[in-house]
Amino acid sequence: MARAVSTRRKLTMTILVWLVALIVFFPILYTIITSLKTEGEAAAGFSMIPSFTFESYAAVLDQQDYLRPFFNSVVISIGSTIVALLIAVPAAWAMAFTPTPKTRDVLMWMLSTKMMPAAGVLVPMYLIFLNTGLLDTLLGLSIILTLVNLPIVVWMLYTYFKEIPVDILEAARMDGATLGKELVYVLLPMAVPGIASTLLLNVILAWNEAFWTLRLSTDDAAPLTAFIASFSSPQGQFLAKLSAASVLAILPILLLGWFSQKQLVRGLTFGAVK
């Protein structure tokens, strides 16, 4: 980047890139705008200027029982993430710091379990859930989401852990640290950023998972994915309310993602980009 870029070129690129970014972002932007319209305005056709009313939000929060699916989404995404991390952290640690010739195959195998199409095993899972009483429970959904995301979590943690030089752990051992102290004073402080962004990504993946959550829940445990899916066909004047509900469903994750996007992207490269 040693060369100065001409201001004109930079201006042109800026305008071009902003234009593209706004197009990509437009569906979200327009949803936010529509959510701030009255139902009458929303039905009247395209307009970028809402009357900035929050009546649709009030309506959704009142009538549609939004809080319950919201609560369900929070429970299953956080619950499944914590369980997945508890299982995955030791595994990823072992693979990163005590690699064997088989490590790579194990990782590939783990990822390959994600290749198994959910639809392929839906039928038996549905019956297992039906017969064990897990159908339409938060516990059942949390279990499924843990299983579904575990390979990604292991892989991502592995990528982060591998960036921690083994030398440093050995230095701690030479300095007289026992396994426990090595973990607390050296490994954990260096691993925390990686664990944190893995946690974030998994919460996002779990929050947005929309096959198992739709298929294995009906009422009690239905999370936001199911709540939104119930808007699939028009119901009278509903656009503004639909938009408000959508914004409410994506806002927590959108904010979370915006704050952590740098680390998330790094983790998502799965070590393929140095």
Binding site: K10, V17, V24, A91, P124, A210, S246, V273
Partner: protein, 290 residues
């Protein structure tokens, strides 16, 4: 670190993950295979017993079968082509010095955080609706008849919606890869007299190879299972025009109550996924340094 003790410890630390995933892989698969050879109706407990290949025959001769296979593959390929192609283009643009880089990144990544049902309802009702949708408004502005996207081009519409969701992922990973290319290497190529296109072709693109494989691998895993978008936007129709394999299996097995045939369909999906997986793992095994 490589002492015997630590190796034994390592095995114990991996055990829970391996065990859980092994169960998760074997139990449902074994049951699927079992059901695929059974007569099993949710609605009629009197129908039971060994079915031979009848369930497979039922599933494969379903008029929706071939359309579903083709649609599944079209969705995977279509979305991959759009996201990787556009992703490279956008990454090249974002790699240039511009004002407001940070905000642009945030705008660009946002669709990745949108849950599929929201993406589906928003595109269906607010963008693609032929009466009050934004696209209709744009068509009218140019004096054209509004297009009924989901009615007339259902599969294309779904591909566009799904591609919109995955474009940020592809773009940002490719951008990260592009930014890791050393300035010196680009300059060396410039010194060697390579023009912009040659630099892209011989320097940047090979450098992106690993990132592209990651994008393809991860996306394929998810694209083979696209479901919510179809259920919400088109319901698989009109006819079978936008029915994919997951959708067909759910319709047959759970909605249609024919568990045996649904399981047979599941096995077909597993085989299809494995064909894709073998193909992918070959390519990726080389590129992903584990």
């Amino acid at each position: 670190m490589a002492t015997k003790q630590s190796h034994r410890l390592a095995r114990w630390m991996m055990a829970p993950s391996v065990f859980v995933l092994l169960i998760w892989m074997i139990v449902p698969l074994a049951l699927t295979i079992w059901f695929a050879f059974q007569r099993y109706r949710l609605t009629n407990p009197n129908i039971k017993g060994f079915a031979g290949f009848a369930n497979f025959e039922f599933f494969v001769t379903d008029p929706a079968f071939w359309p579903a296979i083709i649609n599944t593959l079209l969705i995977v390929v279509g979305v991959l082509v759009i996201t990787v192609g556009l992703g490279i283009l956008l990454a090249l643009m974002l790699d240039q010095p511009i004002w407001g880089q940070g905000i642009v990144r945030i705008l660009m990544i946002s669709p990745f955080f949108v849950m599929p049902p929201v993406a589906a309802v928003v595109w269906k009702h607010e963008l693609m609706n032929p009466t009050w949708g934004v696209f209709a408004a744009v068509s009218r502005f140019f004096g054209q008849e509004p297009v009924n996207w989901l009615g007339n081009y259902p599969l294309l519409s779904i591909i566009v919606i799904v591609a919109w969701q995955w474009l940020p992922f592809a773009t940002l990973i490719l951008l990260t890869a592009m930014q890791s290319l050393s300035e010196e290497q680009k300059e060396a190529a410039e010194m060697d007299g390579a023009n912009v296109f040659r630099r892209f072709w011989y320097i940047i693109l090979p450098h992106l190879a690993r990132a592209i494989t990651v994008v393809i691998l991860i996306q394929t895993i998810y694209l083979l299972g696209v479901y919510a978008e179809i259920q919400i936007t088109t319901g698989g129709g009109p006819g079978f025009a936008s029915t994919n394999l997951p959708f067909l299996i759910y319709n047959t097995g759970v909605l249609g109550g024919n568990i045996g045939a649904g399981a047979a369909g599941g096995l077909v999906a597993v085989v299809l996924a494995n064909i894709v997986a073998i193909f992918l793992m070959r390519a990726v095994g080389r590129n992903l340094d584990a």
